[in-house]
């Protein structure tokens, strides 16, 4: 077998996509969402998980997200033509609460050490300092998928002691927290992929700990960007860099126009295109 050639030129977003893709197991029934999870699932399907079954809360089941183009959202036309089933939100949610989904991805504005996520408000609920979109499907995904993965920008004001609002339950107050809340056993967050590294959850304490740091990131950097006293694995790994082939696929096959990878540049170009004569 050919030896893996590592890429040297890649962005942080691309590295996180590769990390997220590694969380996907072949045959997983996955709840996909717009953005980075799209690209991670598409990469997994093209590499180690060809039997992955992508589904979305829009209603597509066993969709083929890259058949026509990079989907612009779960509601993109590209998600439906070529899917095996087109139901609706309740149709998919009922399968979710029945326990038929293996994996989902969650993002947000704040997370605490038990993996509870806030994507609703900063400040007071009725008159917030900042209002975010809200739960959408996230609460149900974090409640009912067997495993869910958090994707976060790793900054001190986002890794907090207490989130202002629990939109999506992690392990709530710690061991036994999910059971006490009536959540199905065998569910919960399994990893947090951040801009600095990957964190896992301790089986006993249910607390997040630093498992791996990205290349050129120091353990101290991660601790300094976390509000609570972050636990560290006995032996912190270094994230395996992406291969040249993975980076090629991400850039050429998954998002050739850079709608997610080069968001700001893409948006600027889109406005220029529309308003030019």
């Amino acid at each position: 077998m050919k030896e893996k050639e590592y890429a040297t030129d890649y962005t942080l977003t691309e590295l996180m996509i590769v990390c997220a893709a590694k969380q996907v197991r072949d045959g997983d029934i996955v709840f996909i969402g717009t953005g980075l999870p799209f690209l991670a699932c598409a990469l997994a399907k093209k590499t180690h998980a060809p039997n992955l079954v992508p589904c979305s809360e829009e209603g597509q089941i066993d969709a083929n997200p890259l058949l026509w183009r990079t989907p612009r959202s779960i509601g993109d036309l590209a998600m439906t033509a070529g899917a095996m089933m087109a139901t609706d939100l309740l149709g998919v949610m009922h399968r979710l609460t029945y326990g038929e989904f293996d994996l989902g991805f969650i993002s947000g504005a704040q997370v605490d050490k038990y993996g509870n996520v806030n994507s609703t408000v900063i400040g007071d609920y009725r008159k917030p300092k900042v209002r975010f979109p809200g739960s959408g499907g996230a609460n149900a995904i974090s409640s009912y998928t067997k495993r869910h993965v958090l994707i976060f920008v790793h900054r001190k004001h986002q890794f907090v002691d207490k989130v202002d609002y629990i939109t999506s339950p992690g392990y709530l107050s710690g061991p036994g927290g999910r059971q006490a809340a009536g959540l199905p056993s065998g569910t919960g967050p399994v990893a947090v992929i951040t801009t600095l590294g990957t964190l896992s959850f301790d089986e006993e304490t249910k607390e997040m700990y630093l498992d791996a740091v990205h290349p050129n990131v120091k353990v101290e950097d991660v601790k300094n960007n976390t509000t609570w006293d972050l636990k560290i694995a006995k032996k912190v790994k270094e994230t395996e860099p992406p291969s040249k082939e993975e980076i090629r696929m991400i850039r050429e096959d998954l998002d050739p126009f850079g709608i997610y990878l080069k968001r700001e540049e893409f948006q600027k170009k889109a406005i220029e295109f529309l308003t030019s004569k």
Binding site: T34, G59, L90, R126, V130, G134, I166, A180, L183, L274
Partner: protein, 321 residues
């Protein structure tokens, strides 16, 4: 009130919204992407109704112009945003200034509550945890947000939620006949479970109005019966800048342009004046688009066809045995 007879319910958007959306109504809106009732949302913004309560599973896609002005008092939803484009800036400022009372649920809860309304039951049990703040923090519904009761069959605690039967709902479809038999195809967040049928009456806006015979040749695709419908509005490009299966793609550049035009109140007003208040109806809106950006820009949104194989419903023959 709404009979199944053959009288036509076709009218202009202005008339439909003016006649059938009343001050103080609870208004249902479907998910906006694809196929959201964008033309109707612009008309609602133009007419300045008062004290509306909006119920929607997730306000995804083209929804932000709805929040301009003061006509929405309460919002019961799970998510408001513009997906990869941004964060629905108008909505965001409204909530941050406490100018809209909001009640947050999850998409799943709202779907179940509307489904319960459709089934005409007063409350609906939902399989849900009690650990998150979705239940702990109450907004405009207060103690009527949910309750916890003992299941009479298992003895286990179960979360129940009220159901909704909105006064009026507005849906956009590919085709309908003049009486309101409406048909859609392609994935849609709301329609397969018929949560829109929770509404007491529906305004149907359609890409095209077709002969009833076309409807009757494919009854599988009909998502609401004519007797539920109070008005039928012909609205080609009625979901723009979102997509419509079989008609047009979503207009990503326009959506981005809008988001970047709404970062502050002055720019937002300018955009609303140009695209909503200064425009009479959807036809004028599309004319404005062509004048401003060019015909080719509009036509770039036409996707390639992707046909299904036709199906055979069978037509029985009249024989005795």
């Amino acid at each position: 009130m709404m009979k199944t007879g053959k009288q036509s319910k076709v009218m202009s958007m202005t008339e439909a919204v003016s006649k059938y959306v009343n001050n103080g109504d609870t208004l249902y809106l479907p998910w906006g992407n694809p196929g959201g009732p964008a033309a109707a949302i612009h008309e609602l913004a133009r007419q300045d109704k008062k004290d509306l309560t909006v119920v929607a599973m997730a306000m995804s896609g083209w929804v932000d112009p709805l929040f301009y002005g003061k006509h929405i008092k309460r919002l019961i939803t799970a998510w408001v945003g513009t997906e990869l484009v941004g964060l629905a800036q108008i909505f965001r400022r409204k909530v941050q200034n406490a100018e809209i009372e909001i009640e947050d649920y999850t998409n799943f809860h709202i779907g179940m509550m509307l489904w319960g309304g459709k089934a005409n039951v007063p409350f609906i049990p939902v399989p849900v945890d009690t650990g998150s703040d979705i239940l702990n923090k109450k907004g405009c519904l207060g103690d009527k947000k949910f309750s916890i009761v003992d299941c009479p069959f298992t003895g286990k605690q179960v979360v129940i939620m009220p159901t909704f039967q909105p006064d009026v709902g507005i849906i956009h479809v590919q085709r309908a006949d003049a009486q309101g038999n409406a048909q859609t195809w392609g994935t849609h967040v709301d329609f397969k479970s018929e949560v829109h049928l929770s509404c007491r009456k529906l305004i149907v806006t359609a890409e095209e109005i077709v002969d009833s015979d076309i409807i009757a040749h494919d009854p599988d695709r009909t998502i609401c019966p004519s007797f539920k419908v109070c008005a039928v509005v012909e609205a080609p490009w009625g979901a723009h800048p979102e997509a419509m299966y079989g008609h047009y793609d979503n207009d990503l550049a326009y959506r981005i342009h809008f988001e970047h035009s709404t970062y502050n109140d002055a720019d937002t007003k300018k955009w609303m004046d140009e695209w909503v208040f200064g425009i009479k109806d959807r036809q004028k809106y599309i004319e404005h688009y062509i004048n401003k950006f060019g015909y080719a820009k509009l036509m770039r949104l036409k996707p390639k066809p992707f046909y299904s194989a036709s199906v055979n419903y069978s037509r029985p023959v009249a024989e005795v045995f």
